[in-house]
């Protein structure tokens, strides 16, 4: 039963929206657990654990040292408290930092060797069998006939990547798509050059912790001029109890390349909150374009606020080359606590950054999310569209920075944030930071109100629509800005959210 079932909704809020939010925030569909034998590192974090993780991944010495330096730094850092979220103090020593299925110790060679439970997990999560076979690391499965539309998947189960699909096909065009642990072994020069160059080791408390203990994640390299022939995707599953997931994603889009990258995540229902601290770094060289889409669906905790994932994520794209373009699209429906600000450093001239977000917080969820657009180059452009919806006793905060540096001449930003409250026990907040340091740039920040544009209504009425129809047409698509930016693969989720309008938004 959903907490927003019997709630008084203020006049003007669309009933379909209420239903859709209820649907999204209702029964958590991915809350089941896979019973599987796991291998754990001892609880807690210290230099031994850092070394152990590095050792399990068979990393070279420089990587171990990199991690240890990060750990040393982390020990001196303070947990940030500026976000509008409250949660019991996290005991960082009461977590497992490394957990992998025992069947993954030796990489399976054939389908008989793959743990059926692992196969069933992906099956249940709705990943097609063909992919499933490859996911489970079966050699040769790539030659089986496939559906016309291909998505290469890297699946991360707790602390390890269990497999990456379409690797060979991608390799033919020069695209490297593999787990980060493999990349550290196979492509050390690339990793050495780019890892930590967008999110420095000491960037923030959670990113520093991640730098020390990240166990796996995905690595993507798109060579110059290559348009990645299929969408790439990483699926994160937290399964083990009391285990934190710390993954690292590194995407390098070389000159003139293009890639669309998808990310999905789920976790079982547990009474005790679990930690997830990821870092995503994207590097864009000249004329490169990256589309990064996330449907974040971690376990949000139960109706009374027990359990759920604490999601502390640092995502940042560095548009180093001129004319490069990055687009973040996120649909945030899960997690008990979200602390996430996918950002764009618009360093090259004529670069572009876009951020589209729908954050839906229900029951006891707390979301503090937004973006940073740092304009450094000339003629840089950014656009922020953020829709926050709160229901139950949830709190939803948009927090963002738009910064126009003195040298970012003739740059442009447009920001629009809307919030909708369903019921009178929840909260919606907006915390934008705007810093303009030159006068040829234009910055506009606005939050639309509940009023429907009279002129638009008049236009529709003139063409024979009745008032209700006209309002529906004008209001509809409040969220479409964001949904349209989602790739096909998220059609299901998009379908579910399409009924949401922000009519009746508070600010």
């Amino acid at each position: 039963m959903s907490a927003i079932k019997d709630i008084d909704v203020k006049e003007g809020v669309d009933q379909e929206t209420v239903d859709a939010v209820r649907e999204v925030g209702g029964e958590y569909k991915y809350g089941w657990n896979t019973e599987i034998e796991m291998e754990y590192a001892p609880k807690g974090v210290n230099t031994d654990i850092v070394r152990l993780i590095s050792d399990k991944n068979e990393e070279p010495e420089w990587m171990t040292e990199w991690r240890l330096a990060a750990f040393k730094r982390w020990e001196q850092m303070q947990e940030p408290d500026w976000a509008m979220v409250t949660y019991p103090k996290i005991d960082f020593q009461d977590q497992y930092y490394y957990a992998r299925p025992k069947s993954m110790i030796e990489k399976p060679k054939s389908i008989e060797d793959v743990d059926p439970k692992l196969l069933a997990t992906y099956d249940k999560l709705g990943i097609p069998l063909k992919e499933q076979m490859i996911l489970a690391g079966v050699e040769g499965a790539e030659d089986a006939p496939t559906a016309p539309r291909k998505v290469a998947v890297d699946a991360v189960f707790d602390s390890v990547s269990v497999g990456t699909t379409f690797k060979d096909e991608l390799k033919k065009v020069g695209v490297i798509f593999c787990s980060i642990s493999e990349a550290i072994r196979e492509y050390p020069e690339l990793v050495k050059k780019y890892l930590g160059s967008v999110v420095p080791v000491s960037d923030n408390y959670y990113a520093t912790l991640n730098s020390a203990v990240f166990s796996d994640g995905s690595f993507v390299y798109i060579p110059p001029g290559v348009r990645c022939p299929m969408e790439l995707s990483t699926y994160f599953r937290i399964n083990a109890e009391n285990t934190g997931q710390f993954e690292r994603t590194l995407i390098i889009a070389d000159k003139g390349s293009y890639v669309s990258y998808l990310e999905g995540c789920t976790a079982p229902k547990r009474d005790v909150a679990q930690l997830h601290a990821a870092v995503v770094e994207i590097i864009l060289e000249e004329d490169a374009e990256v589309k990064y889409s996330t449907v974040q669906n971690w376990f949000p905790g139960d109706e009374d606020g027990n359990g759920g994932i604490y999601n502390f994520v640092t995502k940042r794209a560095d548009c180093r080359g001129d004319r490069s373009k990055v687009m973040w699209t996120q649909v945030e429906t899960g997690s008990a606590v979200t602390w996430k600000y996918p950002s764009c450093i618009l360093r090259g001239d004529d670069t572009q950054g876009e951020f589209y977000s729908i954050a839906i917080a229900n029951n006891h969820q707390q979301a503090d999310t937004g973006t940073k657009m740092v304009h450094l180059g000339k003629n840089t452009k950014s656009r922020i569209v953020s829709k926050g919806i709160s229901a139950g006793v949830a709190q939803n905060t948009y927090r963002g920075l738009v910064s126009m540096h003195p040298k970012a001449k003739s740059s442009r930003n447009y920001t629009q944030c809307d919030s909708l409250l369903i019921g009178d026990k929840c909260g919606a907040h907006t915390v934008p930071y705007i810093e303009v340091k030159n006068n040829s740039s234009r910055v506009e920040h606005e939050a639309t109100t509940s009023k429907v544009d009279d002129e638009q209504l008049f236009y529709c009425r003139q063409r024979g629509m009745d008032e209700e129809e006209a309002v529906a047409l004008v209001v509809n698509g409040f969220c479409k800005d964001v949904l349209q930016a989602l790739p096909m693969e998220f059609a299901m989720e998009a379908q579910q959210l399409v009924a949401i309008s922000l009519e009746g938004s508070v600010g």
Binding site: P432, V443, V506, G507
Partner: protein, 426 residues
């Protein structure tokens, strides 16, 4: 969290240079405020609330010298028919002031009544300031409550016909002026309070206003145009039922100005408008920090701030609308805009919303940009020279904020002063 040692040391250094008054009705409020300053510590750059403004020159025990020219040492409201009350270097000047007499208002000086044992202002002095310390610390206001020796205690009982004009003149180059004013508005009372003049090399002014049901306070302030001034002001107001507060500030120049307003709408159907126009040239840093709390039904609030900046000037706006859970039907509006006349100036803004009620409308907007070249071209093509065209467009830009001043005579004085500034500067 324990205060950082640097903060403790800086606070102690400042406090050592001041002497706490132990006598009279305000003694316990002063002692409490002193305790608050020690507990909070004076602001430092690392504090989130001071992210865009360096507080050092406002908190240091030393005052930076600031000369004032004879021309600037006047009130811009001199031409209006007002009841004038003059403070010179922060000390009341009876000769230059009108008689403190009006049937509808009681006016007393803090310096004169401070040693009394009983006074009506006991229930107000430092009270709204104390409430204004949450959720964000305002230590400079507490410092003022503890140490201000002068100020006007105003008890408004009915409709006061003439504006009360507080004129702050400056003779000394290095005075550190602290003034603490109290305004108690009885039910249905109404008054216009004007503030003007250079004040001092450094000043710290606090105004606490308790506005009873149906009362209306109109506050218009013109901060002097002395270049080297360092100023911090706080306006604390509590609005009861169907009451109204309108506050407008015109700021020209000044090395460092931080104007804070903390407004609490506690009674239903009340209206609070806080607006400001500021123009800055060169080493000018101006900060408007506004916090409006809606804690009643059908409240209306507006924050309208316009800033014109050039030659490396910096404009800051930190605005917040906090709507408490039961403040349904709130109508909140917040706009902050800057016009950057050249490439060296900067605008830093944090327009925040925090909303806990579902049936409200809160909109906020913030923009920054250069003057519209097409509009300049249009005016040029109609024979208006570039400088004049720029002036016209700049005034038009400031008009939305200026229109918040209801009294036409007062608005006109301000507009003339702005025109004057523009023609001199451009």
């Amino acid at each position: 969290m324990a205060l950082a040692q640097t903060k403790i040391t800086a606070t102690q250094e400042r406090l050592n240079a001041l002497r706490l008054s132990q006598s009279g009705w305000s003694a316990s409020a002063r002692a409490d405020a002193h305790g608050r300053v020690i507990a909070m510590g004076l602001p430092v750059r690392r504090d989130e609330y001071w992210k865009y403004t360096r507080p050092d020159e406002l908190t240091s025990p030393n005052v930076i010298n600031a000369e004032v020219s004879a021309e600037d040492n006047t009130s811009i409201f001199g031409s209006l028919d007002c009841l004038s009350i003059v403070f010179e270097d922060g000390i009341f000047n009876a000769e230059k002031s009108d008689k403190l007499e009006d049937a509808e208002i009681t006016l007393e000086l803090l310096s004169e009544v401070n040693d009394l044992d009983i006074h009506w202002a006991t229930g107000l002095y430092g009270v709204l300031e104390t409430k204004g310390q949450a959720p964000v610390d305002r230590p400079l206001a507490a410092l003022n409550t503890a140490f201000a020796r002068e100020g006007l205690l105003m008890h408004v009982k009915g409709t006061v016909a003439k504006p009360i004009s507080l004129i702050y003149l400056q003779n000394s180059d290095n005075d550190d002026v602290m003034l603490h004013h109290i305004i108690k508005m009885d039910k249905g009372a109404s008054v216009t309070i004007l503030e003007s003049g250079p004040v001092g090399a450094r000043c710290n002014i606090v105004m606490e206003a308790e506005i009873e049901d149906g009362a209306s306070l109109n506050h218009v302030r013109a901060q002097g145009r002395n270049h080297e001034r360092r100023a911090t002001t706080h306006l604390f107001a509590r609005l009861n039922k169907k009451s109204q507060l309108k506050s407008f500030t015109l700021t020209m120049n000044g090395a460092l100005t931080r104007n804070e307003a903390f407004i609490e709408i506690c009674g239903d159907d009340s209206v609070a408008h806080i607006a400001g126009a500021s123009v800055g040239d060169g080493a000018f840093h101006h900060d408007d920090t506004v916090f409006i709390i809606h804690d009643a039904l059908r409240g209306e609030s507006r924050q309208v701030f316009k800033k014109v900046l050039r030659n490396g000037a910096t404009g800051v706006f930190q605005g917040k609308i906090l709507v408490k859970p039961d403040a349904q039907k709130t109508d909140g509006y917040q706009i902050s805009q800057s016009l950057l006349l050249d490439d060296d100036s900067q605008f830093l803004a944090k327009p925040e919303l925090e909303i806990y009620a579902d049936d409200v409308v809160c909109s906020h907007g913030s923009t920054s940009g250069a003057i519209d070249e097409e509009a300049i071209f249009y005016l040029n093509s109609r024979g208006i020279p570039k400088v004049e065209a720029t002036n016209l467009l700049t005034l038009a830009f400031l008009a939305e904020a200026l229109s918040e001043v209801e009294d036409e005579d007062i608005a006109e004085v301000m507009e003339r002063r702005l025109e004057d500034w523009l023609t001199r500067r451009l």
